[in-house]
Subunit: 165 residues, 2 copies
Amino acid sequence: MNLNPDWIVGFVDGEGCFYVGVYAHPEMKTSYQVLPEFRVVQHERDIQVLYALKRFFRCGVVRRSGEDRYELCICKLSCLQEVVTFFERHPLKTKKNADFKKFARIVRWMAEGRHLTTEGLIDILETVRTMNRADREKVEETLLQLKVQSGQRDSPPQVEISGTR
Amino acid sequence: MNLNPDWIVGFVDGEGCFYVGVYAHPEMKTSYQVLPEFRVVQHERDIQVLYALKRFFRCGVVRRSGEDRYELCICKLSCLQEVVTFFERHPLKTKKNADFKKFARIVRWMAEGRHLTTEGLIDILETVRTMNRADREKVEETLLQLKVQSGQRDSPPQVEISGTR
């Protein structure tokens, strides 16, 4: 199966996902790890489309994702830089493009190593919190902890704690 | 927003649906009405993509489809003939193409008026029963009734009735 750029843009406008996960990781200096992912999920009947996309981008892994679904997942930073270059050259037409632009910014910051400093990580999370698929509650909580840690903000005041009663 | 054919094929490979509904309709000679539909559903944030598709095909209606979703629905026969011509010229790459080919066959049969005869309707239902989104139980039941009506088959034998106990 040969794919052309416009078909890929249309298909990803429908089925693609640009996601940035932020996970606690005690061995990182900042205590958090940032994992951006480009994902396309399909029913197993269309697994050959995922392999065609993998061949096109020369990147990623096709793996099971639920009972009868598979996903192509591209998460290696150098590969994501290629993906970003592609979708900057061939822009998405849906509102997914707004998320993509934030994703692209984060991938660039990571290529510069900014995710390895608390300040850079705060910038990344400030961007992630506005993305469509973000787990906002978790992102806000992590942001607060990082800001306290970096001295950008005092420890949560008493009123916030009593607010949870 | 300007759409090009390859983008449309990719997007419809992801988000499009070719559906053929068969509904009881006492005023039809066959007692049934066949309604093929080409549908694309989107979150309301991307309603402009549906309008762009509507402009491209110069057909269809954009309407609400659930709480925060909208759909482009093309169901007029002359419009569906245009849609069929487009996707024959620009084939889908996913397994959705198998459903599309059956859909195209049914649209052609309807243009010839075959859905207005019991024999034609049986051919249509024999095709619909193999399509991905078909309500198989309902289609089988309708097929059985039509075959009995046309004399292609006797009334359901006793053993089938007792099988439902």
